[in-house]
């Protein structure tokens, strides 16, 4: 008879509100580490939740928390748990916020009832109810953590694809981390945009920081190279490590007529020669330049 239990619980909460609140807050303060949340904040949160539970029990007379009458309690719990997720509470402590109400509530039930059957039924109702609330809290906690992780991933995506200008007409794109479809899309777009902005003839895709290259990654790279060629810029792929070269050949990936170089330096040299420049030594190696010695002492 859940209806009966619910109304009896509501009455119990009404009668022993202050006593329950005090006991619950005391339980909480044992669990939570010092300094993470102030005692007065904690007491306020407990009071609000206890009031919401009482109102829900009195109004809805149901112990399923997905009902309309539990909306206020759900709202409050959602707020508290996402706040705790941001403050860096562990998930167990966030769940304990609700679960630590069990002991005070069981104590109160035991004192209120002298019939064993009624007591057992009441305890079952309370356990069921608090478990639901705790699960809801944990779920909200995880959701807000996941939202945080997603946002950080997006940030990383933006930060990890800088297009740098090496020389007038030469761009370089040092790629770091695994290349998946969404990242390659951003890489491609930002590279092409920069080619238009700077009017560069040559772009160097440096994959030194890419841990593995599979057929999909190679295909993404080739797409980027082709798109750049369509716009009238030439692409050079550099930074291919020995293991990656072996993987590419073993997978049978056809890089077509794309120019590849082992190091960024080689690629830069080629890029300079494509735009009609070259790097040379001004004086023989080891020969001191005029005025170089005093400058070195400074």
């Amino acid at each position: 008879m859940p209806e009966l239990n619910a109304s009896r619980l509501a009455t119990l909460l009404d009668q022993r509100f202050d006593e329950l609140l005090a006991a619950w807050t005391a339980e909480q303060l044992q669990v939570v580490r010092r300094g993470q949340i102030s005692a007065s904040d904690m007491r306020a949160q407990c009071r609000e939740l206890l009031q919401a539970i009482r109102r829900a029990l009195a109004a809805g007379a149901s112990t399923r928390i997905d009902g309309q009458s539990w909306a206020a309690a759900r709202d409050l719990l959602g707020r508290v748990s996402s706040q705790r997720a941001q403050q860096g509470f562990p998930s167990s402590e966030t769940a304990m916020f609700v679960l630590s109400l069990k002991r005070p509530l069981f104590d109160a039930l035991r004192r209120a009832s002298d019939d064993a059957d009624t007591l057992a039924a009441d305890i079952w109702t309370v356990t069921d109810l608090l478990d639901q609330l705790a699960l809801f809290t944990t779920e909200t906690y995880l959701r807000s953590r996941e939202a945080l992780i997603t946002r950080q991933q997006e940030d990383m995506l933006e930060l990890s694809t800088p297009v740098v200008k090496l020389w007038d007409g030469v761009l370089a794109l040092p790629m770091i981390g695994t290349l998946d479809s969404s990242r390659t899309q951003i890489v491609m777009e930002s590279l092409l945009q920069r080619i238009v902005e700077t009017g560069s003839d040559v772009a160097i895709l440096d994959i030194t920081g890419v841990p593995t290259v599979d057929t999909l990654t190679a295909q993404h790279l080739l797409k980027t190279v082709t798109a750049a060629r369509l716009m009238g810029a030439e692409c050079i792929i550099s930074g291919i490590r020995p293991q990656i070269a072996q993987t590419i050949v073993q997978l049978g990936v056809d890089l077509g007529d794309v120019v590849t170089k082992a190091t960024l330096a080689d690629a830069f040299k080629l890029a300079l020669s494509r735009i009609g420049l070259s790097v040379g030594r001004v004086r023989p190696a080891g020969a001191p330049a005029l005025g170089a010695a005093p400058a070195a002492r400074d």
């Binding site: 777009e189 945009q193 238009v196 003839d201 082709t226 750049a228 060629r229 369509l230 716009m231 009238g232």
Partner: protein
């Protein structure tokens, strides 16, 4: 019926696409350009698509077709000023426009065309010289 103007600059024809291309317009351009290359004996075609923001598979094929026709008529084609979004779309459609030369802007495209024309002229001169010694 509107059409895209084809401008003649010495041995080179200049086509600048400034309006939204639709299929009929693209077909007209293809015909007009073939006629113009033959009539002028042009050695190069420069197609500026910097104002083209949207492209479909048909448009991509038209560009490849125009380049193919020009090649048959002994003229080099350079496509200039392709927007990033257009380039990405063409790559995703699997149209890499093999055999079409590309450049970032008109200036670079014109330099590329002149180099191509000069190269061929040089070859012709060599052949003339060879004929002369015989």
């Amino acid at each position: 019926m509107d059409s895209i103007p084809i401008l003649r600059m010495g041995p080179v024809l200049l086509v600048s696409i400034q309006v939204d291309m639709h299929d009929r317009l693209a077909l007209t351009l293809q015909e007009d350009l073939s006629d113009a290359i033959t009539a002028n004996g042009s050695k190069g075609v420069l197609i500026d698509i910097s104002a083209l923001g949207v492209v479909d598979s048909f448009m991509g094929r038209m560009l490849a077709n125009i380049a193919g026709i020009a090649r048959v008529l002994d003229a080099a084609t350079v496509v200039v000023g392709m927007q990033p979004a257009v380039a990405i779309t063409l790559v995703e459609l699997g149209l890499s426009l093999e055999g079409v030369r590309t450049a970032l802007n008109i200036e670079k495209g014109m330099a590329l065309l002149q180099a191509a024309v000069a190269e061929r002229d040089a070859v012709l001169h060599v052949m003339d010289d060879a004929d002369g010694t015989d």
